[in-house]
Amino acid sequence: MEPIVQYKDIHKSFGDTHVLKGIDLDISPSEKIAIIGPSGSGKTTIIRLLMTLEEPTKGDIYVAGKNLWKMEKGGKSVPAKEKHLAEVRKDIGMVFQHFNLFPHKTILDNCAMPLIKVKKMSKKEAQEQSKQMLDRVGLGDKYDAYPSNLSGGQKQRVAMARALVMKPKIMLFDEVTSALDPELVGEVLEVIRDLAENDEMAMVLVTHEMDFALEIADRVLFLDEGVIAESGSADEVINTSDNPRLQDFLRRFRD
């Protein structure tokens, strides 16, 4: 099957810091990938590149066969314009560590506004679909609340509904539970589990919830110092790899 996303020899530097050092990665439609690795290894950067929040220093990313950062113009390949980016971006969604809900809009408007503005949906249709999605993440009673009146777990579920209702083909999760109080983590993971089991969409999960990641992921990537050091099924990566840095990393989680 054609991959939905391809990273080809992706490098990323911030100033003198060489963060990603040649990432090659194919993601199949509906594949669930977990990225694990030490803090600072470049996990967030990998998914921010796909969300167009950062631009690669070198290499190409393809989404559904289209080069993300370059477009054709008069038979030549030129840097992508905003319109091209928007075209490619509509297949990608992202959930952030710190939710990034719009504080001046109700929960319902947080979800409905992008549908109205980007998908040019009628207000009625947008609200209908948003309500369905909010119901699905268990917030059917909060349509008119503002983000500041929600718990962290509820905020993150709204953020997921807001991203999901745009119907991306691939969804990125950047440590979506690490800003939450421990007792609120479960309700968020529950939503992700539901998606992983019942949704066709591809998912890339950067997480420190090791057991959860191993449970739902089709493939686990261990990122270390800017390269994918290990890649395979959860079982392969956890039980059969003899990479000492991976062993070391896992040991710290078992304690």
Binding site: M51, M94, P103, H104, K117, K155, A159
Partner: protein, 220 residues
């Protein structure tokens, strides 16, 4: 004494119309300038950015009274531009001056909105314009309100300078009154103060309200 006070007030009120009309028009125009210049300074176009920075720094770096004289005496002679009546010259000078200051309020409020808000907007595929209109400005506006309230009071006070280019505002009538009733000078100026303060009262109230709204404003 009380009668004299009332007398003076009614005499001064001849200048009320000029003071208030200049204040309201200059405030309205300076708000427009503040948004246009404030957002221009965040433009991707270096020419637009540079030109606005030039305007803002010139008008912040020199005093209103010099700008007033420039527009009234120098500009018409040097460039053969007619800015219209001295009422308009007063309005334009005050608006350009405070517009420059207030554009900085707009700019700093916009950039102080959390970066995560822009990123969420990009992730939802909103255009640059839609992000500004739907996400950034509504939040930045809440931050601007208290400052705008303060500046509107400053603008009111700033309008007193237009008496120097021959406009018959509150202060002008205060001066005239004093020069014809020398012994009542202090009382005349006290009444001028009272008048300005009364006009400022609703502005003070508005900026207090603005502060409250701002406090409720942002942060998810």
């Amino acid at each position: 004494m009380f009668d004299t006070g009332l007398n003076i007030l009614s005499y001064l009120s001849q200048g009320l119309g000029t003071t208030i009309s200049i204040f309201l028009t200059a405030t309205a125009i300076s708000f427009v300038i503040a948004f246009v210049a404030g957002l221009s300074r965040l433009s991707g176009n270096i020419l637009i950015r540079g030109f606005t920075a030039f305007y803002v720094e010139i008008f912040r770096g020199t005093s209103l009274i010099v700008q007033l004289f420039w527009l009234y005496y120098a500009v018409p002679m040097l460039f053969d531009i007619n800015l219209g009546s001295n009422w308009w010259v007063g309005v334009i000078a005050v608006a350009l001056n405070y517009g420059a200051y207030m554009s900085e309020v707009v700019r700093t409020s916009v950039v102080s909105v959390d970066k995560g808000q822009t990123e969420a907007g990009i992730a939802l595929n909103l255009s640059r314009f839609q992000r500004m209109r739907e996400i950034i400005l509504p939040q930045a506006l809440r931050l601007m309100l208290p400052e705008f309230g303060n500046y509107s009071i400053q603008i009111l006070k700033g309008t007193a300078l237009v008496s120097l280019i021959g406009l018959t505002d509150l202060l002008y009538y205060g001066d005239i009154y004093r020069s014809t009733n020398l012994s009542e000078g202090p009382l005349a100026y006290l009444m001028v103060l009272v008048m300005y303060f009364i006009i400022a009262l609703p502005l003070i109230w508005l900026s207090k309200k603005g502060e409250k709204i701002a406090k409720k404003g942002v942060a998810s």
